[in-house]
């Protein structure tokens, strides 16, 4: 009888192992319930998003079709806002812990799209489906030319506090120079009233990846005597590379990837 029970236990444990395609239980007492998040067959959208946010998945093209609804709910719901708030709160805690020199060279770098301004009204359109549809450069440029992108609230909140603390704000964007007028108007209308520099892509930057372009511009800032004390962006290409700054802050963006 004991032998039968033992056989039964071995048989069931073998089945559960082969079913999950992983060879060992991580924790012998691990319950099979109580996890966060729901399960979607094939891709687990929470895991996909975490892998994107930690730069494990790179050079991805569109949001997986099975995750379109998940990403939509995330972006329009509380969690995206809360996640941005947490990033901004961590940045603010850090920013106010520093003693600034006050010589006009204490710089903080912000990206623009999906960091300072939100293109969510555009990405929420059915034809864009929160990034689950192929990127349409023409329609995105039409949207950009409207200059009506709202601010990312957490970033605006951080921006205002950084100004108050005496930081010099540098906006470093992959937008092209020909969008300067509309971008500056959009920024001011959204509450970003002042800045030290607003750097846009020049014609001789066109061959560079975002990572190389932003590294080049930050290096120029450092050569001009700025100390980049903080740097916030929604893409890893905003905060990796050269002269990234003393601390970097990653805002969430599960809608698109820029190398």
């Amino acid at each position: 009888m004991k032998l039968l029970l033992l056989f039964f236990l071995i048989a069931t444990s073998t089945i559960s192992v082969s079913a999950s395609n992983i060879p060992n239980q991580i924790h012998p007492l691990r319950p099979q319930s109580g996890a966060a998040g729901h399960r979607i067959p094939g891709i687990n959208c929470l895991s996909w998003r975490l892998a994107v946010e930690t730069d494990n998945i790179r050079d991805w093209d569109v949001v997986p079709a099975t995750c379109e609804n998940y990403v939509g709910h995330y972006m329009l719901g509380h969690q995206y806002r809360k996640d941005c708030d947490a990033a901004a709160a961590a940045a603010y805690e850090y920013a106010k812990s520093l003693k600034l020199k006050g010589d006009g060279k204490d710089a903080w770098v912000f990206d623009i799209d999906e960091t300072s301004l939100s293109n969510l009204p555009y990405y929420a359109l059915p034809e864009n489906a929160f990034g689950a549809k192929e990127y349409n450069e023409t329609s995105f440029q039409e949207w950009e030319l409207k200059g009506i992108a709202p601010p990312v609230p957490a970033t605006l909140y951080l921006y205002k506090n950084l100004l108050r603390l005496g930081y010099k704000i540098v906006f470093l964007s992959g937008k092209k120079e020909n969008l300067r007028a509309i971008t500056e108007k959009n920024m001011k209308n959204s509450g970003y009233h002042t800045w030290e520099k607003l750097i846009l892509k020049q014609s001789d930057d066109s061959g560079l990846t975002a990572l190389a372009y932003k590294s080049k511009r930050r290096t120029a800032l450092v050569k001009a005597g700025y100390r980049i004390l903080g740097n916030m962006g929604d893409q890893w290409s905003d905060i990796l590379g050269l002269n990234v700054g003393n601390r970097t802050f990653k805002l969430p963006n599960p809608m698109f990837y820029i190398a």
Copy 2:
């Protein structure tokens, strides 16, 4: 009447703005429901975890008390396992896309604790509370000396596939050299039967941060002719610094932070 309605709308919108402490709506049509995750007053534990995983929050000491249950459920439930699987799957997709030289120098670096081996049975003990209690070096060393840490299933799966593809595996750990015998025994018992190198901390490394120590060891690998094609760890100090490798993969760890 219309004026009254207008006044009412302005009043309510003002209230909602001051309540959330952020000045603008990110999306005028954003519904107030449909978000992922539950809300915990003060700290949003999902946001805290994301901020930790994206290296926005650094040098943290213990898991916030209000997030102990959240982290416990996460670690013992499906989601931690799924998140590890997604990281390993991304790593495997990348690993098999490369054409190896096959000269014995195609290297893949793995951290050990919470990457190759899991200390979850230790951290799940009430006195450790998934990292919500202060780190106890004495009791952790007692646990280490038992040498019974199970593998992280996703990493073992990746490890086996990397071996099959021809990668040379380097384990690079912050464990000290005096733990070599028990660590090697634990690794073998957990399914990691072979490796190119298993690097442990030497006495002259004791003053270094994990980031500096691991940078130093990886630099030595590169000088010895190894090409670090991939690098996986649960801490940012495993995958930032010098010679991090062509691609890095971050496994989740909301239980502790190592600089």
